[in-house]
């Protein structure tokens, strides 16, 4: 069953068409990868789904409901969680206090029966899931001094705290070492095991193709190919547009 349906999205910035009639269907509890060269419209697509950019035409249906025109926080509260490519956490706050903010959202409060509860403990639980060692000082450190890898995990933790149904991860692996990526992949696999859906925008094809169920290739704002990772790897057009340069 499809949980998210993107139909015919077009968005132009000035004269440039960042997205040109793009349609995507995301099946529930699968991992969809979105790849494409730089400037192919991947982030704009994510921005459109999460309400940060309003498309010129097209619709985005989440569980059959159109979300176009809703403000980002409403969309987040419906269950579409989004991790940013540029990690900018709340730098002045300690890591675990960063998680208090999503815990105060209407979505989380509704699920916990309107009660706040001990948010600090919940925040620490969530951080532990993404690999912040609970007994160390890491969760208590101010976000501005955390290394890049932890900031990426913090983004994931925010979505976990929100109990999102779709995790949209915009270049989560960028800037991480292979060891760090290998340690994050189990977290994503666990999210899938919990019955959630994941959409990943990635440049790290090797790692992505290992875990993706389906991959979409964008180029110049157009969807040029869609299929399981194996097919994508062998496709001539994709190689020409993207892999030919990369591999």
């Amino acid at each position: 069953m499809s949980i998210l349906e993107v139909n015919g999205i077009t968005k132009a910035f000035g004269g440039v068409k960042a997205l040109d009639d793009v349609s995507v269907t995301v099946e529930e509890n699968t991992l969809l990868g979105i790849i494409g060269p730089n400037g192919s419209g991947k982030t704009t697509l994510v921005n459109t789904i999460t309400g940060f950019v309003r498309p010129d035409t097209g619709s985005v249906l989440f569980k059959g409901r159109d979300v176009i025109g809703l403000p980002p926080y409403r969309i987040t509260n419906m269950g579409i969680g989004r991790a940013f490519q540029m990690v900018k956490p709340f730098f002045h706050l300690p890591a675990f206090k960063n998680i208090i903010v999503p815990l105060a959202s209407p979505r989380v409060r509704a699920s916990s029966g309107g009660k706040y509860g001990d948010k600090d403990a919940v925040a620490l639980d969530v951080l532990e899931e993404v690999g912040f060692e609970r007994d160390s000082s890491v969760p208590y450190k101010t976000a501005s001094v955390l290394p890049h890898g932890y900031l990426k995990r913090l983004e994931l933790a925010r979505l976990l705290a929100l109990k999102s149904e779709i995790f949209i991860l915009d270049e989560l692996f960028s800037g991480l070492s292979i060891a760090e990526v290998t340690s994050i992949i189990p977290i994503i696999e666990k999210i899938l095991l919990d019955g959630k859906t994941v959409v990943m925008v990635e440049h790290r094809l090797k790692e992505l193709f290992r875990i993706a169920d389906k991959v979409i290739v964008l180029n110049y704002g157009k969807k040029i190919k869609e299929g399981p990772p194996k097919e994508i790897l062998e496709d001539e057009e994709v190689k020409k547009a993207y892999l030919g340069v990369e591999v």
Partner: protein, 335 residues
Amino acid sequence: MKENYRKERIARSIKARSDDIYALTSYREMWYLLFPRFIPIVGIAIVSYFLPLYWKKVAITTCIFAMLAVSWDFLSNCGLLSLGQALFFGIGSYTAGGLNHYLHLPIYVTIPVATVMGGFISTMILLPVVRLRGIYFAMVTLILPLMLMRLVEATKILGGTEGITGLSPFPNVWFEITLILAAMWASLFGLRRFIASDYGLIFVSMRDNDRATMASGINIYAFKAQALFIGSSICAFCGAFMTHSYQFTGMPVFAMEFSILPIAAAAIGGIGTLAGPLVGAMILVPLSEVLREFGTLRIVFYGLILVICVVALPEGIFHYASRKYNEMERWVKIE
């Protein structure tokens, strides 16, 4: 061989032992924490009560500007850069003055009502622009009080250019000082507690990255409106207080001074700490009183202080002092 030294900083604070939660184990530690809070509260109270009448008025003005500065800092902590504290101040002042003059309400009604209504009106005026960020918001807030001034001038409502005079005064100066001191400390410590609470964290998070706050499912516009209400209520209280203190309200309440001085105080004291701006106001306002004989030249001094402080001492006095208090510094030889 030349000997090299480097500066080493050692945290003196008991907080250094544990990052978040800490237990007090001795009177010495309690005193260590209480000292920087206790001394100013008692000190300022004593000083204000025993000053001659003229300087008592200066002390009151100082407290008013300190509150404006604290409120400014609170707003800037929430990502709302305001250049128009005069707007909130003026609305509070006119509300109190109007209620007192036209409806003949007594002082203990006008001040609370003006506080809440002033906050409400200011929030409603700024609601359309709450979506603006940073400098855009700042520009609008700079323009608004000046335009309201013109509005009063043009429509001749609320006393027009003459203003409203003969408002009811405070019963006595002791009452006046006690009230403003209580309000000042309440707003300072109240806001400090507030932004440290779970609910207040959301406000602070908006300054760091409002997009991430939005992506956390928080309606940032609702929260910014709340922040505006809190901040402008404090200013409106100041306006109402000043109105009764001088028994006058008029166009000068929208003057630039009420916008600039709080920012100057915050810039000197240290932005982002809430206590810093208060310290800044405690320095600036009495200083400007001393400089009064220079006439308009004293505003030039403000400007100079502003520029110098921002460029040369960007962290502000409070950050500096608290670092000195909480850390020991020493020079160590580099092996």
